[in-house]
Amino acid sequence: MLNQLSRHFKLTALLALILLPYSQLHAHAVVTDTSLNVEKIAPNKATKVRLTFNSQVELGLSQIFLVSAGDKMQLLNAEPGGHQGNVIIDIPPLTPGEYALKLSIFAADGHLSEDIVRFFVAEGK
């Protein structure tokens, strides 16, 4: 009986290893504010955008992409802002249209997070 129990235990342990939880890359470091909320991007002009995160981020292990129509990705330069949790990114000149920032952020607590910030570039009035 012990052998039988041992066999079952091994099978269970094997299944446990396979079946334990998976969760997607979560959003722990999330954007709580951005300069895009108050300053719209003017067309055809390079600009800087500030992103404020809810936690400290490891910028050397993070990536921020500009996504344009057709989901074309372009890696952007990012630097620490003046305050903790602030990141300044360089946006190249953009033509009017819909865009997004796709973020892969490594938070200081070790969580790799993904987030998307959508925005529009429109001709000024």
Binding site: H8, L20, Y22, S55, G70, E98, S104, G110, L112
Partner: protein, 543 residues
């Protein structure tokens, strides 16, 4: 391979907390419950050696899991960044604190193996063990959620560490109690030791629970700004489930305490020997799931940070509202036609076909489970012998899910089986869930048909159900669209909780005598029915 790295990365947090509990809880157990230096306790060397060994296993495996966490993180970052993450990773708090913690855990493990194991009757050596555990416990503060916060960082780190240590005392002691029971049932220890240790653990357990609540409350108050954020975010949802699980674990703990109290008052040892051990086993199920949920909670954005993405309580209630189940599926072609727009980042177009496809999958699964649970209820009437074949429903459900879970992959879609399984974490999870459901059906059917009264096969069903619940509780959809993802997650989380109740109920049905057996069995089947009902009315938000 990124999918496997994701999977293991999310798994390792719960494993880490479990082994941490074995190590830290084992030392507290030794000092405050065992008190091996007491000459009146009449412990055998074999008994004490076993207890110390369990603590050693906790410390040693903690070293392995801590190092594995670092390796997995490197793997995951290499896959995500598509480059080697060093030297940047070497400068992170995660890397440095992780290595330091592994080092201190190794020191503790070596001390337990080489010193404490040979001197377990001397107080001084236990106290040195505690002193050696302290740096390991303290270094863990830099690895918790609060370490990355911008405000009240130190306080959050401190409260989280106290929270972890308190939980470790409870969980570690429960594992020690299970070990004591195992030795008692084999006749390896004095009969009186079992109730005596249960009695001694009781006040320690109460202090641990008070400490868990007292340290958890300020953390919760920091991360929530309203009652609605407790109901309308993934973070709040998981916290509520944690509180419910704490309630279930306390229910078992309360039953144990009453049984031990009765034993010392009336010398009636029936409950202490024929109920308490199994309540503790069920309590262990709940507590381990609680640890994995806690690890999952740490990867959610705190509710206070996402007020603009918080669902209202009306929206949450609406996800459970009864409606006519969808029993017609959109065509595979219609589904694939909408996929490009649905997953687009710029110019995203929600796909009605994708939502309908998902609703159909969930609703039909609900029909399977509801019918199965009704058959399971009928199977308690001995005359209805055909009803005992209800687990076959799991096999059929597994086949259904294999074809329907991921429409873009083999056998219906263009992406190959292996390619989709190992490169997409979500597909991997669905494949595992499908295998789990299929195995559940086969094993439970075999268990119910076996003629061997000593067969251990029936126990696999509650164990696998508990793992299924565990998986659901970590099945977070929070990603790019937190509010929509949360509305999907909330149903899954509740099903995870019911799966845990299903597991505990079935386990106790197999172990207890009457009338507890029948009550536990009914609760178990009712939990299955509830899962069926949630799936039956499931409706995915359009996104």
């Amino acid at each position: 391979m990124e999918g496997i790295a994701d999977f293991l990365d999310s798994l390792i947090g719960g494993v880490d907390l479990t082994f941490y509990s074995l190590a830290v809880g084992g030392l507290i157990w030794g000092i405050f419950v065992l008190r091996p230096w007491d000459p009146m306790a009449h412990y055998t060397n074999k008994f004490l050696s076993k207890s110390v060994h369990l603590t050693y296993v906790g410390a040693y495996t903690l070293v392995i899991t801590q190092l594995a966490k670092i390796v997995l993180k490197i793997w995951l970052m290499t896959a995500t960044l598509e480059r080697w993450p060093f030297p940047a990773f070497a400068n992170t708090v995660q890397f440095q604190a992780g290595l330091i913690r592994a080092f201190f855990a190794l020191i503790l493990a070596l001390y337990i193996r080489n010193v404490l194991k040979h001197n377990f009757r001397i107080t001084k050596y236990w106290l040195i063990g505690i002193v050696l555990a302290l740096p390991m416990v303290i270094s863990g503060a830099w690895l918790v959620h609060g370490a990355s916060r911008l405000e009240d960082r130190e306080l959050l780190m401190l409260f989280t560490v106290i929270h972890q240590v308190s939980a470790a005392v409870w969980v570690g002691s429960v594992f020690q109690l299970l070990s004591v029971w195992r030795m008692k049932s084999k006749g390896q220890i004095n009969e009186q030791l079992w109730p005596a240790l249960l009695w001694r653990f009781s006040p320690i357990g109460i202090v641990a629970v008070i400490s868990i609540v007292a340290s958890g409350l300020p953390i919760a108050l920091h991360y929530f700004d309203s009652l609605n954020s407790l109901i309308g975010t993934g973070y709040g949802n998981l916290l509520l489930v944690k509180i419910l699980m704490l309630g279930i674990a306390l229910f078992f703990a309360g039953m144990n305490r009453r049984a031990v109290h009765d034993y010392f008052l009336s010398a009636n040892n029936h409950d202490v020997n024929y109920r308490v051990p199994y309540y503790i086993e069920a309590e262990a199920f709940v507590l381990v799931t609680l640890l994995f949920t806690a690890a999952s909670l740490a990867s959610q954005p705190p509710a206070i940070d996402i007020p603009h993405l918080t669902a209202s309580w009306q929206e949450v209630l609406n996800t459970f509202a009864p409606r006519i189940p969808r029993i017609e599926s959109p065509s595979h072609e219609a589904l694939l036609a909408g996929e490009e727009g649905r997953v687009a980042i710029v110019g995203q177009v929600p796909s009605e076909a994708a939502t309908a496809w998902s609703d159909y999958n969930h609703n039909v699964s609900g029909i399977f489970l509801t019918i199965m649970s009704i058959f399971a209820m009928l199977s308690y009437y001995k005359k209805l012998t055909w009803a005992k074949y209800w687990p076959i429903g799991f096999v059929l459900l597994g086949i259904f899910l294999f074809f329907r879970s991921d429409a873009e992959t083999w056998p219906l879609g263009p992406i190959g089986f292996w390619e989709s399984t190992f490169n997409n974490g979500e597909v991997l999870q669905h494949r595992i869930a499908t295998l789990l459901v299929f195995m559940l059906g086969l094993l439970e059917m075999k268990a119910r048909l076996t003629q061997d009264p000593d067969s251990k096969l029936p126990y696999l069903f509650p164990i696998l159900a508990a793992f299924g619940g565990l998986m659901l509780l970590a099945h977070s959809h929070v990603g790019f669209e937190p509010k929509t993802a949360f509305l999907i997650q909330v149903g899954h989380t509740l099903m995870g909780l019911f799966a845990l109740i299903l597991a505990c109920g079935r386990w106790l049905e197999l172990k207890l005598d009457s009338p507890g057996k029948e009550i536990a069995g009914f609760i178990s089947v009712f939990a299955l029915f509830q899962i069926g009902i949630i799936l039956l009315f499931y409706r995915e938000p359009l996104y």
